[in-house]
């Protein structure tokens, strides 16, 4: 980044830590950007005339006489239609060899939407995956993460969801992506021929970790441009938010803050909420939907990162391998979409809510029967029927390779239920049973 004429250059750094440096400077704004020997840094603390800068790339090799120039603005992004189809780094600079896009310069991490100006989300996002559409229906304007262990195929499922969902723009925010995963996304998007709908902001494992703190704000600033100015439906993919939170804890540690649970900063909830709450349905039709990935350690959702995330997001999706059918399924017990109530039975058929609950409850009975079997008890006739039901339900509904429309999902579920259970075992309203339950010969 070149310095402009008449800018004051400071050359006297008074203090250096692993992530920050301090110097005496005047007329500096909080959160302002600066360059330290050409490396980007941001003001994080001002006491009197002493200014502390967080150096994104780390302070290895930093000289005490390095040239520091303040840029007079917070981190920002040039937004415009030219963003489409491009790949950028955490600072919004192109990494695909293309030209720097032109557009209006907007500070990232801008103000929140006035809650009374939001519209209640009400548009279903169909993915064809029954484990999602039927049991955990997604709605535009929603924010929902995949909770997954690092060995699970979350990026693939997410890419599938993104490509099948009918949206105007997909914005990928990649944090700590391995180079392989970055190339995977790049390939799958170009093979699908949709590259011009996609904008990517990528921080790979090869980049300094602190840089990734800018990724979500960059992605969401671009999303706000398309959702507010162009009234477009924007889907934002953020992977992996656990690595984002790790970067937060590195910074807070270097700033001598007292850590709270799991060595995370005390402000973790607010930090994550600021990102996820950018998901919104605007009254004029534009919307931002966020699908994120939070990797877990050994499935532990009580760790501070998934725990705080769960309190912020509108549900979570779990994927796991079902050993009975040998396929990856969307776990119906631990997954939840909080906004599904706004669309199921309203935008979908009226039997959807009760049918979904009945099937999941019987699937739970099957799990109990399985425990009984493993503990060496005899199974009742009901247990046997539950187990048979569970296998069919897993393969025809829960498996992530299912790709059918919602009505077909409902019909399939009725068919499976009817072939194993009697009416009184379903606990479904009589009217719905009469209307939809197929007769079994």
């Amino acid at each position: 980044m070149a310095t402009k004429a008449f800018q004051k250059i400071y050359t006297k750094i008074t203090q250096i830590t692993k992530a920050t440096c301090s110097l005496r400077a005047a007329n500096v704004g909080n959160e302002e950007l600066a360059t330290v020997d050409g490396n980007l840094a941001q003001v994080v603390k001002i006491i009197g005339d002493e200014v502390t800068l967080q150096v994104f790339g780390g302070t290895e090799g930093l000289r005490t006489n390095a040239e520091v120039v303040f840029m007079g603005k917070a981190p920002s992004l040039r937004v415009g239609d030219q963003l489409s189809g491009r790949f950028f780094n955490a600072f919004g600079d192109p990494i695909d060899g293309g030209p720097v896009p032109e557009g209006k310069e907007v500070e990232i991490g801008g103000p929140s939407v006035n809650p009374v100006r939001r519209k209640q989300p009400s548009e279903l996002i169909a993915t064809g995956i029954a484990g999602i559409d039927l049991n955990n229906t997604l709605v535009s304007g929603q924010k929902i993460p995949f909770f997954a262990d690092p060995d699970q195929p979350y990026n693939q499922v997410m890419a599938n969801v993104a490509l099948r969902a009918k949206t105007d723009k997909i914005i990928l925010g990649g944090m700590g992506l391995t180079n392989d995963d970055y190339l995977y996304f790049k390939n799958i998007f170009s093979n699908a021929g949709v590259l011009d709908h996609i904008i990517s902001f990528v921080n790979t494992t090869e980049n300094p970790p602190v840089e990734r703190l800018l990724i979500p704000d960059m992605a969401l600033t671009a999303a706000e441009y398309f959702a507010v100015e162009k009234n477009e439906k924007v889907l934002v993919l953020l992977t992996d938010m656990t690595l984002y939170a790790d970067a937060l804890s590195i910074v807070s540690n270097r700033m001598d803050q007292i850590p709270s649970k799991d060595s995370m900063p005390g402000s973790l909830y607010s930090d994550l909420a600021k990102i996820y709450e950018k998901a919104v349905q605007f009254p004029d039709g534009g919307s931002i939907t966020i699908i994120a990935v939070t990797t877990l350690s050994g499935g532990d959702i009580t760790h501070a990162i998934p725990d705080n995330t769960g309190y912020i997001t509108e549900g979570q999706l779990f994927v796991r391998r079902d050993t009975d059918i040998g396929k990856v399924i969307v776990d119906p017990f631990r997954s939840l979409s909080r906004l599904k109530q706004l669309v199921i039975g309203k935008k979908t058929r009226d039997d959807h809510p009760q049918l979904m609950n009945a099937a999941v409850r019987l699937f739970a009975d099957a799990a109990n029967a399985k425990t009984k079997l493993e503990n060496g008890f005899d199974l009742s006739d009901y247990d046997e029927r539950c187990l048979d039901f569970a296998k069919e339900y897993s393969a025809q509904i829960l498996a992530i390779d299912v790709n059918i429309d919602t009505t077909e999902m409902l019909d399939t579920t009725w068919k499976i239920l009817a072939s194993h259970f009697r009416v009184e075992e379903l606990n479904i309203k009589q009217d719905l049973v009469t209307k939809y339950m197929p007769k079994v010969s």
Binding site: N27, I46, E107, P111, N114, V116, A304, I312, S380, K429
Partner: protein
């Protein structure tokens, strides 16, 4: 002349200001930033330096900016016109703000100062009055709204003049009072009160005893809350805290409902904004929004204002309680409030307590809960604030500081449980761990005997014993296997399942089942407990399960049907037939 200051340091939303005169702890000040004035509160003073927490983003702030001090603490405006408002944590009217995005330093008054109100005097010239005494009355959303002697007035006053019945704006003087030194003080329909101070202008605060009907069976029957009572709902995410809170706020028999959305999801607040103006108050038939005030400080709004939001909501509740009204205050979630306290304590570099929360967390929580309650006003009328807060325990672990601090302060405990939520048994309140201390109050027992029935409390206790027994039996069956226990065990287990499925579980999304009035609760409880007292005969455990599933199914169909409708009676007849098949002995009470 008021004190002024200059910004000397900025650490996130904590700003250090050098002052040129006296300031007080918790005083409000404004940092002048271009055209905007950013509101902040003093939270620490060291020598000439005041540490202030800013209620807005501090991006772009610079050392050297000017600061003006206001000489008062954070206050709210109280007067007619608050009902149906959507406010933020600092009592700004969100609807009056322009644009889609919130702008730093934009403040809007919750009251329309030029709006006219029909005023009718209730006091006359020469009356001796004190703070919170009723001077007159106006009508707000068809509800009487008392105009009171301002709460900040200390000692006693004499009314020198009071206006006649007529229409006045909020700017107009409606009375002139004389203090004991004969100074004249003009009073309008609007007054101010600092939010962090409890309002104590009432005669006494006796133990509460009147049942607050919520229409939620598992609360009203098993863990009742009373008018002026306190309760809390802890639960891991996804167990239905918010759905339960919304159900209570929609259905509870209260005059005023205040919902403090504190650091929670914006879409949930939008749900209230969207639904409440449409939904009817089941008790009056008017729109729910007419009796509701929403204080929304969602999780992405500034942290310091989040801390203020619960106090703002509580102060407004106290204002309406002083009019002799039944107020229900819901705060979702108090954990977010505690986290806001933690973030500030952390920036002030205070020595941390458990999980880095401030040391006095539990005292702060207790102090806040104690502002709720049932009071007798100076004129002998009564009013109440029922407070229900949710707690979002980190990792679902109820041994964390916020849950423990709240448990000491609140009298009802509605424990939401992951296992119940996983098996879709909603509301997922654990019937055995949850409690209501009010059920032990003799005052409450007397009240229930008079208003509901003298059979009620014994029947509830019988039900709880059955649930406990059912749980024990289930554990036995799990260990010994279905064949390893006598048939009686299966019968007991399934009887407790009837209670669980028919009484405890309730479908908050079904138009009929969502709200269950007390008469209907009583009818169903009698019905169900009657069945559990009957003797049945079976040959094997499979028969038992099949049979009781049928019974449960019919009873649930009754829950889904309109009370005492033909359909309801039809299912009831089916039930009688079903019972005849197997019952050997009718032990019905």
């Amino acid at each position: 002349m008021s004190t002024k200051g200059i910004v000397k340091g900025i650490i996130s939303n904590l700003v250090i200001v050098e002052v040129d005169g006296p300031v007080s702890q918790n005083e409000i000040c404004y940092i002048i930033y271009k055209e905007a004035r950013l509101m902040a509160e003093i939270i620490k003073v060291v020598g000439q330096q005041a540490y202030v927490q800013v209620f807005e983003s501090t991006r772009g702030l610079k050392v050297g900016f000017e600061v003006e001090f206001s000489e008062h603490m954070l206050e709210v405006q109280l007067g007619p016109g608050l009902l149906s408002r959507n406010l933020d944590g600092l009592q700004n009217d969100l609807d009056k703000m322009k644009g889609v995005f919130l702008r730093s330093g934009e403040y809007t008054s919750p009251l329309n100062i030029d709006q006219s109100w029909e005023f009718k005097p209730l006091a006359k010239v020469g009356d001796k009055v004190q703070a919170a005494d009723w001077l007159g009355e106006t009508t707000e959303n068809l509800q009487p709204h008392k105009i009171m002697v301002p709460f900040v007035f200390e000692g006693s006053y004499t009314i020198k003049s009071i206006v006649d019945k007529g229409t006045y704006t909020l700017k107009d003087t409606i009375a002139v009072l004389l203090d004991d030194k004969a100074n004249e003080i003009a009073v309008t329909m609007v007054q101010h009160w600092p939010v962090k101070k409890a309002l104590k202008a009432y005669k006494e605060k006796p133990r509460p005893f009147r049942l607050l009907e919520t229409g939620v069976r598992i609360i009203d029957i098993a863990n009742p809350i009373v008018e002026g009572g306190t309760g809390f709902i802890p639960g891991p995410f996804g167990t239905g805290k918010t759905v339960l809170q919304h159900a209570i706020s929609k259905q509870a028999e209260a005059d005023i409902v205040i919902m403090a959305a504190c650091g929670e999801r914006a879409n949930e607040v939008v749900e209230i904004f969207t639904e409440f103006p449409e939904l009817e108050d089941p008790h009056t038939g008017r729109k729910l929004m007419e009796r509701t005030i929403i204080v929304a400080n969602t999780s992405n709004m500034p942290v310091a204002a989040r801390e203020a939001s619960v106090y703002t909501a509580m102060t407004i509740a106290e204002y309406y309680r002083s009019m002799g009204l039944k107020v229900l205050l819901m705060a979702d979630s108090t954990s977010r409030w505690a986290q806001a306290l933690r973030e500030m304590s952390n920036r002030l570099e205070e020595l941390p307590g458990q999980d880095a929360f401030p040391m006095d967390l539990s005292a702060i929580i207790a102090g806040f809960y104690s502002r709720a309650g049932y009071v007798i006003l100076n004129n002998g009328q009564t009013g109440s604030i029922t407070f229900i807060g949710t707690v979002s325990p980190a990792g679902g672990n109820l041994k964390e500081p916020v849950t423990e601090g709240t448990k000491k302060a609140a009298r009802c405990f509605f424990a939401l449980e992951q296992a119940r939520a996983d098996s879709k048994r909603y509301p997922a309140i654990n019937p055995i761990d949850s409690y209501s201390k009010y059920i032990e109050y003799p005052e409450f027992e007397d009240y229930i005997k008079k208003t509901v029935s003298d059979q009620w409390i014994p029947m509830v206790n019988e039900m709880k014993t059955l649930l406990q027994r059912g749980k024990e039996v289930q554990e036995q069956i799990n260990i010994l296997g279905d064949d390893g226990v006598p048939l009686d065990y299966h019968i007991t287990y399934w009887k407790s399942e009837i209670v669980d499925f028919v009484i405890l579980q309730q479908d908050a999304f079904d138009t009929i089942d969502a709200l269950c009035p007390i008469e209907r609760q009583q009818y169903m409880l009698r019905k169900v407990m009657g069945i559990t007292r009957m003797d049945f005969e079976f040959d094997n455990f499979n028969e038992i399960m099949d049979y009781f599933k049928k019974v449960i199914n019919v009873l649930r169909q009754m829950n889904y049907s309109e009370f005492e409708s033909d359909k309801f009676k039809e299912f009831e007849k089916q039930l009688e037939e079903l019972l005849k098949e197997r019952v050997t002995q009718l032990n019905q009470a």
